[in-house]
């Protein structure tokens, strides 16, 4: 059984014939810098800084690459938004919503709409949140004096809805919105039997807040420009720009100071935006850390709940719920720690992680404390996120490691390349339990030696083989079934010649310094922050990001900041009508 599965990995890979392909859609050159295959700008060589400034100075290049749009809050964004509005007590409510979807590989993709189920779940969330109104500072204005008479109560409610509403919608309310909310307020107040004006006020406000927190203008943030704007290019309102900045860096709505800048006209230049962005990063480091953590988890598909983590209990009895929970917590701590100085090289080379008694078995350590302590691991065995057990186990089978899955992951995630198409007829595998191979690598090699297979597998197996020191749950091993592990491999798929590596530690080090990798990480960051895949139209801004990422030695935080403080953030192309 065990061997059957291991060898089947290859065919499993073959199953997913449609994950294969040659690069990205929209004519983007998967090789990296170009982004513009045939678009007039230099598509060129890997490592090329990209489109030249001269080409980007043309009028055509100035046209916004992104269309006006609305973006639904992700679950994390909703969680932070509700918490900022109403306090920590409401933080757990967002978990009522269905999980995010990953159509572009990231939860932040701008394709997100709402389903009927989402609307129903949001109702539950909003009702739960509105019941905790005491957590909103604006409720201080709903004191006893409001209950003097009906007119006072209505005036207090109006003031509350104007101020709380502006925070909820991240902009001042339009008159029609305020009028509509007051209608809801009146209906809500009527649920309290006559006489108790204070209770009626509370009930009315609660119902109006339910409406606010379910409204499309709350759950979607807009990039539409001012109401009534027309023309080929729309200019975003300062409030929209403020939200773009804060949600990108902190997955949160603008704070008071940023909202004030939007109101006072202080967000009209890239420099002003950058100053505000840096202030947000300084004042909300935890929020940024969580955002950075989310990026890496989604980028590298680290998911302890994935089918890959349903390990064979007979082979890996230690991989139970406590172990998996500990690996998840370790990942969180590792990534949030990294977020304090988030360079690509640190991500790929840090030997520091966080270990408690529950994940210690992954490292062969004996620890009795349930607390996760910063621990310097053996740098010969561990280097960064690619050697985290949570990552390694996400790229393995239930009962074995997988050079194929691990190699393909490097190809897709770090080189932004897709594996070549699987031949239409992958030949049936011989029963693998009849194999005389002793190691996983040998078993895979027997199959990939077949002519029909080797041409594809050479595009990723050399990278996957470098991870053979790690078993299906990410433990380091020198031997497998009594045979010494062979982790020799190579970085393939770059412009240069294939670079041999001794193991995953060496491969990680090499990835950190490879230009194609930085170009790819830049694109991954772009997709996460901007919420869509890059297209030809983005060539010039991408060129700028790329240069900046190089200048800042692969600092992901600087790149994220650049992505939302670039001049392009202020405008959008007009929406195209339906095809």
């Amino acid at each position: 059984m065990r061997q059957t599965l291991s060898a089947l990995a290859l065919l499993l890979f073959g199953c997913t014939a449609n994950i294969v392909g040659s690069g990205d859609q929209n004519g983007v050159d998967p090789q990296g810098p170009g982004l513009v295959a045939g678009g007039g700008a230099s598509g060129g060589n890997v490592g090329d800084p990209g489109t030249t400034p001269a080409e980007c100075a043309t009028a055509a290049a100035q046209k916004p690459g992104i269309s006006a749009r609305i973006r639904r809050l992700t679950r994390l964004e909703l969680e932070n938004t509700l918490t900022d509005l109403l306090g920590e007590e409401v933080r757990p409510l967002a978990a009522e919503l269905e999980p995010d979807t990953f159509a572009i590989g990231y939860s932040t993709g701008d394709e997100r709409g709402v389903s009927s189920n989402y609307v129903d779940a949001l109702k539950i969330v909003a009702e739960g949140a509105a019941a905790k109104l005491a957590g909103a500072p604006e409720t201080a204005g709903l004191g006893a004096s409001c209950s003097a008479d009906d007119a006072s109560a209505t005036a207090c409610a109006k003031t509350f809805l104007e101020t709380f509403g502006a925070r909820a919608l991240r902009r001042p309310l339009a008159q029609a919105e305020l009028d509509g909310l007051l209608v809801v307020y009146t209906a809500g107040a009527a649920t309290v039997p006559c006489g108790d004006r204070g209770a009626a006020l509370s009930a009315g406000v609660e119902y109006a807040v339910r409406a606010l927190l379910q409204s499309p203008d709350f759950i979607f943030r807009t990039e539409l420009g001012a109401v009534g704007a027309s023309g080929d290019v729309v200019t975003l309102t300062p409030y929209e720009v403020a939200s773009a900045l804060s949600y990108a860096l902190t997955a949160s709505p603008p704070d008071t100071a940023l909202a004030q800048q939007a109101k006072s006209g202080g967000l009209t230049t890239p420099d002003q935006l950058a100053a505000e962005g840096r202030r947000l990063l300084e004042t909300q480091p935890e929020r940024f850390a969580r955002q950075a953590e989310r990026f890496v988890r989604e980028w590298l598909s680290i998911d302890l709940g994935s089918p890959a983590w349903k390990k064979d209990g007979k082979l890996y009895p230690e991989a139970g719920p406590a172990f998996k929970a500990a690996l998840d917590r370790e990942t969180e701590l590792f990534l949030r720690d990294w977020a304090q100085n988030p360079s690509l090289s640190a991500l790929l080379q840090s030997a520091k992680s966080f270990v408690s008694k529950d994940n210690a078995p992954a490292y062969g350590l004996s620890i009795t404390s349930a607390d996760f302590m910063p621990t310097e691991l053996d740098p010969a065995q561990r280097a960064g996120v690619l050697t985290l057990p949570s990552y390694l186990g996400s790229r393995a089978h239930a009962d074995s490691s997988s050079p194929v899955l691990r190699g393909v992951a490097v190809l897709k995630k770090f080189l932004c390349l897709e594996p070549p198409p699987v031949p239409a007829m992958v030949p049936p595998l011989p029963p693998a339990d009849q194999s005389d191979a002793k190691t996983t690598r040998e078993r895979f090699a027997q199959h990939t030696a077949l002519a029909a297979c080797s041409s594809c597998h050479q595009a990723f197996d050399p990278m996957g083989n470098a991870f053979e020191h790690y078993d299906a749950i990410g433990r380091y091993r020198d031997e497998e079934n009594g045979e010494p592990v062979d982790s020799s491999g190579a970085l393939v798929g770059t412009a240069g010649s294939d670079a041999p590596v001794a193991d995953a530690v060496a491969l990680s080090g090499l990835l950190a310094t490879t230009p194609e990798v930085r170009a790819c990480v830049m694109r991954q960051t772009y997709r996460f922050i901007i919420g869509r895949r890059e297209t030809d139209a983005d060539a010039c801004v991408m060129s700028r990001y790329r240069q900046l990422f190089e200048q800042r030695q692969g600092d992901v935080r600087e790149l994220m900041l650049a992505l939302v403080t670039d001049p392009s953030v202020f405008s959008r192309a007009a929406m195209a009508p339906a095809p």
Partner: protein, 446 residues
């Protein structure tokens, strides 16, 4: 583990309703617009493909089956055996291909992703690296809109089962499915209120409706500023708000016995899919939905099937070889277990009294699969079975369209079936999904 909603409890719900006269009245009201047409759609989909030899019906006494007069339970492992008792209400269709994944698509977009996207949408994925999205809706979504009902999309494995889904919205985006009974119970029954003439309750109901009214105004304001796909988002939002409003403003006479709690059970239970079906049946009984799609994937480990300690996908599906009878038999045994689950759903509907008959009479069940050829993961000759008494097509038939064993020569686009099905629900379409394959399925009506 028998922790699912007990059959008895379910029956108590139904019989209680029938006694009180609610149930009949409820359904008459709900379907007054089209009292003779099909009123519910159930879509059951499962993984692992199909082996044609033990799947297709046989003539009574053996040999190739004709269109009618066949048997299903001719072999201990014949796939459709558990449906023998219901065969007069089946339409079994052999030879449909997901042609849209193959024809004019280079490279082809097949395998698991193609098998998730195409069966219910009649469309292929957008591209190789965007293969889990398409450009239009699935049949369950379309029918739910037509019936004005909020559909239940359920996938027991949840998101741990990967990003696969068979239901798609108008924009061709996957519709997130439900997978956690606790959440589903809260979502479907949480705001379920008993009818009341209490003035406070009435005022609350009015306030709830004023909230929805505000939301619709807001959505309309936003929609007026949008175009293209952005506008479609707000159209979908408005659809959902209209459904919410409809449920909230339902006349108080509509009621049912609210289940005391969420169903329980785990993926390790042989009965787990039946628990899922019971939940859908309860929603039917309470008139809370008319469309139920169940993605019948519960993972690889299914020891109760009787195949031993094997993985259903890795070993049984991949191990299938048409020329190896033992492997064909194993796959058929697995699929026969799924057929037994389909039979459970049928029996559940037959146990619900409705009008002069049962709920089964007003339901169409579409049972499909992600794959045809299991080992190669090809989407040709998918096993399609329709069940239920709903609709105007002739039942008790085996439609043999002729099929190409090789995926390279897809012959019969399944779009015709989707179109025919949609039209059974009054859609009046001239085609479904990929416009290259228009029209209804020839011979469907019989």
């Amino acid at each position: 583990m028998k922790s699912r909603i007990s059959r008895r409890a379910l029956m108590a719900t139904f019989s209680g309703l029938a006694c009180a006269g609610y149930f009949k009245g409820l359904l008459r009201d709900a379907f007054a617009a089209d009292p003779t047409g099909p009123q519910r759609l159930v879509v059951l989909s499962n993984p692992h493909g199909c082996g044609a030899d033990l799947w297709r019906p046989q003539a009574v006494g053996g040999g190739p089956a004709q269109e009618t007069g066949w048997t299903l339970d001719y072999d201990p492992d014949s796939t459709l055996g558990p449906l023998e008792a219901h065969k007069d209400s089946l339409l079994i269709i052999e030879g449909l291909d997901l042609t849209c994944n193959y024809q004019g698509v280079d490279p082809i977009l097949t395998g698991h992703n193609g098998g998730n996207v195409a069966p219910l949408t009649g469309r292929h994925g957008r591209s190789e690296d965007d293969s889990m999205r398409t450009d239009g809706p699935s049949i369950d979504h379309v029918v739910a809109k037509q019936l004005g009902t909020k559909p239940l999309y359920f996938k027991p494995l949840g998101y741990a089962g990967g990003a696969t889904a068979v239901s798609y919205d108008d924009a061709g985006e996957q519709i997130p499915y439900e997978y956690d009974f606790r959440d589903s119970y809260k979502s479907w029954f949480g705001s379920f209120m008993a009818p009341s003439n209490d003035p406070t309750a009435k005022a609350r109901s009015a306030a709830d409706l004023s909230v929805v009214s505000y939301l619709k105004d807001d959505a309309n304001r936003l929609r007026s500023r949008l175009a293209g796909p952005e506008r479609a988002k707000m159209e979908a939002h408005l659809d959902a708000l209209n459904l919410l409003e409809k449920r909230l403003s339902r006349p108080a006479a509509i009621t049912c016995q609210k289940p005391a709690g969420a169903p329980t059970g785990s993926l390790d239970d042989e009965t787990y899919l039946q628990t899922c079906m019971d939940f859908g049946l309860e929603l039917f009984a309470c008139g809370l939905t008319q469309v139920f799609t169940l993605f019948m994937d519960i993972g690889q480990t299914m020891p109760w099937v009787g195949l031993g300690d094997v993985k259903m996908h890795d070993d049984i599906a991949h191990g299938y070889r048409p020329d190896d009878p033992a492997s064909v038999r194993k796959l058929s045994k697995l699929q026969r277990w799924y057929a037994a689950q389909v039979a459970y759903m049928i029996e559940g509907l037959k146990a619900m009294p409705e009008g002069d008959g049962t709920a089964y009479d007003n339901t169409i069940i579409l049972w499909t699969n992600e794959l045809g050829d299991p080992a190669r993961h090809m989407n040709n000759n998918l096993p399609f079975v329709l069940a239920g008494g709903g609709g105007t097509y002739k039942k008790g038939r085996f439609l043999q369209l002729g099929y190409a064993p090789e995926y390279r020569d897809p012959q019969n686009a399944h779009n015709g079936l989707l179109c025919s099905l949609a039209n059974q629900f009054g859609l009046g379409l001239s085609g479904f999904g990929d416009p290259r394959f228009p029209g209804e399925l020839s011979g469907f009506l019989g």
